[in-house]
Amino acid sequence: MGMKKNRLERRHLMEAFMKALMYISFVIVAGALGLILWTIISRGLPSLTWDMVSQVPKGGYYMGKEGGILNAIIGSLYLAAGGTLLAILLSLPIALYLKTYLGQSKWGEYVRLSLDVLWGIPSIVYGAFGFALMIAFGMRASLLAGILVLALVELPIMTRAMDEVIRRMPADLEHAALALGSTKFEVALNVVTRQMLPGIVTAILLAFGRGIGDAASVLFTAGYTDRIPTSLMRPTASLPLAVFFQLGSPYPEVRERGYAAALILTIIVLAVSFGARWLSGRLNKYTIK
């Protein structure tokens, strides 16, 4: 039995090496995440007061005096919720159309390719594009413009994420519905959407996370203001920009508040993630495993 020992040893060595490599990758990723969280918590938590989340900036806030960033919190929620909602209205039909009528055809691949390209475009370019359009239409920076541009930023991510989920739809299930005399559209609406709902929720979440954290696209389009927007046509503040402006401040207290704003943003994203997970767990009840 000793004759194959050499080769076996090499194979086991290879396995040990690959395992170590994977372990190291994991440590690097987990370490980076931990470090980020540590930074924003250790520097942001001391400045995170009730005033921070319950008040808008007062005079002198940006020099370290009283007030909070409620304007940015509400603004970001409005922007991201609006943008995500609008993106859902476009993404779900596109993803269903891709699955139902285009499939693996040439046109389906073209649509996927264009979405992938759109995904790769930096959000500052979306912001500049939106800004150019706004000037052409004589629009000012506003909540509405911010929502529209965020919807554009989120659209390719959401659509492709939904597409990847919906593509894994079991053919048996579709055939079962077709056999009863459903049209393809009815299959998409009644069966595919239901079966894939948990995955669709995850796709929405992914896009929401990108939307709420994006600073560049809302910089020109939504503007920034110390007030909470009262209409779609008013400009609005946002958390990423609140982080950006405060971190650039010469006052140390203001910079600390920048970290606190980042912490708030992280907490919102986490809360939405857990909420969506919980929801998709509930929606899971009827899906076929």
Binding site: G103, P170, D172, L173, H175, A176, A177, L178, A179, L180, G181, S182, T183, E186, N190, V191, R194, Q195, K285, Y286, T287, I288, K289
Partner: protein, 251 residues
């Protein structure tokens, strides 16, 4: 013979590969017809042409006619959803929809708007679950997910769901091959009960099942129909050497 389905000069191709070669058969009304033959002989393909499932596979071609009650289901002005309403399918593995037990049965009826109000739908769901022999087992958990049922129960649910859209023809693509022996027996018993009211076409590669169910038999080999006729004649006195060999279990 009172033929419910007539197949005329049917040729079917996957890409360039011919799967059905000039099939000409008639399937009798309100009897159980069993299509049998070795793997790859085209029996499932033939079945799929009866509810226009063949066209769901990409790069396929079909020529010839399939007539149901004298109407060619491949005519341009025939609505495919109507064909599939008239020609129901019991698949190889039960495939409940991602819904509750109740919603699975009511789904098809809703599609075709077959009843007037909730009460009528509810009664119909009960009726078809009873026919499928499942009602007693599920009456207290109608709103549980369909996947909470055993595989055998799921197949009976699929039967109830299929019957609920009031088809005239039931196709079965090896409908018991994924089931345990008791559940298989149960499905077979249902099919025998139902054959007075429905034209039933079953694909099977279990010879014993074919003998238990068949009133009429179609034997296929390499995409051709070798022999077809009443079960007694084909099983008792096969005309073709190939059929005889198959029945004797030589291949």
């Amino acid at each position: 013979m009172d033929a419910h389905i007539q197949v005329k000069n049917l040729d079917a191709y996957y890409n360039k590969q011919q799967a059905l070669k000039n099939v000409n058969i008639e399937i009798p009304k309100n009897q159980i017809t069993v299509i049998m033959g070795p793997s790859g002989c085209g029996k499932t393909t033939l079945l799929k042409t009866f509810n226009r499932f063949f066209e769901l596979t990409e790069n396929t071609k079909l020529t010839g006619e399939v007539l149901v009650d004298g109407q060619n289901i491949y005519d341009k002005d025939v609505d495919v959803t109507e064909v599939r309403k008239v020609v129901g399918l019991l698949a190889q593995r039960p495939s409940p929809l991602p819904m509750s037990i109740y919603d699975n049965v009511v789904y098809g009826m809703h599609l075709h708007k077959m009843k007037k109000d909730r009460k009528e739908y509810k009664e119909a769901v009960r009726h078809y679950l009873e026919i499928a022999g499942l009602y007693e087992e599920v009456k207290k958990r109608m709103h549980d997910p369909a996947t909470s049922l055993s595989i055998g129960q799921q197949q009976r649910l699929c039967l109830a769901r299929g019957l609920a859209v009031e088809p005239e023809i039931i196709l079965g693509d090896e409908p018991t091959s994924a089931l345990d022996p008791i559940s298989s027996q149960n499905i077979e018993a249902r099919l025998l009960e139902l054959k007075q009211q429905y034209t039933t076409v079953i694909v099977t590669h279990t010879l014993r099942q074919a003998k238990r169910l068949a009133d009429y038999v179609i034997y296929m080999y390499l995409g051709e129909v070798i022999e077809s006729g009443p079960a007694k004649e084909v099983f008792g006195n096969p005309k073709h050497e190939r059929t005889k060999q198959y029945l004797e279990g030589l291949f």
